[in-house]
């Protein structure tokens, strides 16, 4: 059989983007049972870390985003004495009587605190889908916000956020931990 070598280079657009030197991959084979056309495809592989090790460098191969890392705003919080955490029942966003009392007490404190702005951060326990819990935490924060509006707090002072099950107060397992984690926190904004 004639030994005809057909080399087909398919450069990935990635390689072209980075101006990589493309090598024409030609080869011959000593196996007579192989048909005699050869083609090649090229693919760049960014996963070239050493085995089993995280290579922090490799991510830097990519241009870093211009956005700087920010620390948690909610962890560097200004303090206002007496603000309490609003509790919730499992898979619920409705306000219990206890929750209403706490919100009313918080509202009184906030009314005496000038125009300080604050965030209502909704949280869930770890049970349930994490995506669903982000939506549930938002409902909890919004339920608290709605009651604060009724109590006469200016809408411009409040914003809501949900962390779902991502930031438990108590990382433990069981109802005593879960009870603490189903909550809306009042977080003062700078």
């Amino acid at each position: 059989m004639p030994r005809l070598l057909l080399t087909l280079i398919m450069a990935s657009s990635l390689s072209m983007t980075f101006g990589c030197a493309m090598k024409a991959a030609t080869s011959s084979t000593s196996d007579p049972s192989l048909q005699q056309s050869t083609s090649s495809t090229a693919a760049s592989d960014p996963l070239r870390g050493e085995q089993g090790q995280i290579r922090e460098e490799t991510i830097m191969a990519a241009p870093q985003s211009t956005v700087r890392s920010e620390t948690w705003t909610s962890q560097e919080k200004p303090f206002l004495a007496g603000l309490q955490i609003v509790p919730f029942s499992y898979d619920q966003h409705l306000l219990s009587d206890e929750a209403r009392e706490i919100i009313a007490a918080n509202a009184a404190i906030l009314k005496g605190a000038g125009k300080v702005r604050f965030q209502l951060a909704g949280h869930c326990d770890e049970r349930g889908s994490d995506q669903y819990n982000i939506a549930l935490g938002e409902r909890r924060a919004e339920a608290v916000q709605a009651y604060l509006l009724q109590l006469g707090i200016d809408a411009g002072r409040m914003e809501t956020v949900s962390y779902g099950e991502e930031k438990p107060l108590d990382p433990g397992y069981g109802e005593s931990a879960w009870m603490k984690n189903r909550r809306v926190e009042f977080v003062l904004l700078p």
């Binding site: 084979t29 056309s37 495809t41 085995q51 991510i59 620390t71 669903y132 409902r139 949900s162």
Partner: protein, 431 residues
């Protein structure tokens, strides 16, 4: 700024491979019947010193083929002298020796290392007829040998298993260290872990584009859940949606040109069709309930999602052409995180029952509901491998990690590395 340099990985196709139909043996699923196959040790070509590269190639190939469930691998201790002969021509192979071991298929391979170039030659033979089924040459650098083995495993599955494998893809997932979650990427057997984001925040629920070039994810980098899109190769990153409220759960349309995501800027979480620039093309749901966890049918005509419109989270299918929505599964009280199989025939999901999540599959018409997992922690976030042979999921059995099982629920195993809490995996197509 470093660049991704060089031609990292070249695949050379030797000859037009024989079609699967020409192979004497084709098995499409695990369980029923397996193909006895021998993997001869990978040998250095003349002029190359034997290194661990050969055994890494063989071990990777072995693990992939075993994971597929359609092969019985012959014990190397039973191999005869042909296993030590480097010739790869079918005339060089003493098939009589392999017939004694009653294997139907044989893999032989050799490698050469010159400077920083690593070349692997791999062959798949049909033992009874003594003929070559497939031959490949892979070029790359030392360290690429595992990826080359994944690629040859995929090829073996194509020839003997009916469809190309997906071992040469990548697995993207969320890893937790301290209070922070970031995206990571690893090979499909859990090796070569690589961080993809450095938000120093909560990065959640990724998806990867059909071309494997881009990822989308939720990040709390600014203190709120917002959607980002990132090019894997260049690292360039843009915000996809930072509307008021939650911006979560984005999934690429199968054509890669649009996405579906959950946004709550108009009240509560609803599904929206977004352009690749994050612009809203269409609001897809309008309901008092929470609508989340969308995922596309492979043809892009339907979306299965989670909604609590009936009181607790349940699965629904939205037909984009008719606009009609119907409930998918009726047997559970709390069903979430659906994933449509690549062939469109099944939907995997997680069901919470008696305080624990288990993985189920159901047909899109609501029939043939099956539980795939059993006791041992919560199993959530099922995602299919691109070839449909495996399901990835998050399990908290023995520490939160990524597990893979065959699509029938057999052979579950942890694949994410120890020491890193891992969840929300997605298996990309081949790179």
């Amino acid at each position: 700024m470093k660049r991704i340099t060089g031609l990292l990985f070249t695949l050379i196709l030797l000859g037009s491979p024989l079609t699967p139909a020409t192979a004497a043996i084709v098995i499409s699923g695990p369980g029923q019947q397996t193909i006895p196959l021998a993997i001869a040790p990978s040998l250095p070509q003349p002029g190359t010193t034997a290194t661990a590269i050969g055994s890494a190639f063989g071990e990777t190939l072995h693990n992939d083929l075993l994971m597929s469930g359609i092969f019985t691998l012959a014990d190397p201790r039973s191999f005869l002298s042909d296993a030590t002969r480097p010739g790869l021509s079918s005339a060089d192979v003493d098939f009589a020796q392999w017939r004694i071991l009653a294997v139907d298929a044989l893999v032989k391979s050799s490698y050469s290392l010159s400077g920083n170039e690593l070349v692997f030659d791999a062959r798949l033979y049909d033992v009874p007829s003594g003929s070559l089924l497939d031959g490949r040459r892979y070029r790359g650098k030392p360290g690429d040998e595992r990826q080359m083995a994944h690629a040859f495993a995929d090829q073996i599955l194509k020839v003997l298993g009916g469809d190309e494998g997906a071992f040469a893809g990548r697995i993207l997932f969320v890893g937790k260290k301290g209070g922070e979650k970031e995206l990571y990427m690893m090979e499909t057997d859990g090796r070569n872990l690589l961080p993809l984001t450095a938000h120093r925040s909560l990065v959640l629920n990724p998806d990867i584009s059909p071309t494997s070039r881009e990822v989308v994810f939720t990040s709390y980098r600014t203190g709120r859940p917002e959607l980002y899109r990132k090019e894997i190769y260049s690292g360039s990153e843009v915000k996809l949606s930072s509307r008021k409220g939650v911006n979560i759960g984005a999934r690429f349309h199968p054509d890669g040109k649009s996405l579906v995501a959950s946004l709550s800027f108009e009240g509560n979480s609803e599904l929206y069709l977004l352009g690749s620039d994050g612009s809203i093309r269409k609001r897809l749901t309008n309901n008092w309930g929470i609508d989340i966890d969308p995922t596309w049918s492979p043809d892009g005509n339907q979306i299965v999602f989670t909604s609590d419109r009936l009181g607790s989270p349940q699965l629904f299918i939205l037909d984009l052409n008719s606009g009609a929505t119907r409930r998918l599964a009726y047997n559970g009280k709390y069903d979430t995180s659906p994933a449509w199989s690549p062939d469109g025939e099944e939907i995997a999901f997680a069901r919470l029952e008696e305080g624990r999540f288990e993985i189920y599959t159901i047909r899109p018409d609501g029939s043939n509901e099956r539980r795939l997992t059993t006791a041992g922690g919560n199993k959530e976030h099922p995602r299919w491998s691109p070839d449909g042979r495996f399901l990835l999921y998050s399990s908290d059995s023995g520490g939160k990690g990524i597990w893979a099982m065959r699509a029938d629920g057999s052979a579950p195993r942890r694949i994410s590395p120890p020491g890193l809490e891992a969840a929300h995996a997605v298996w990309s197509k081949r790179w």
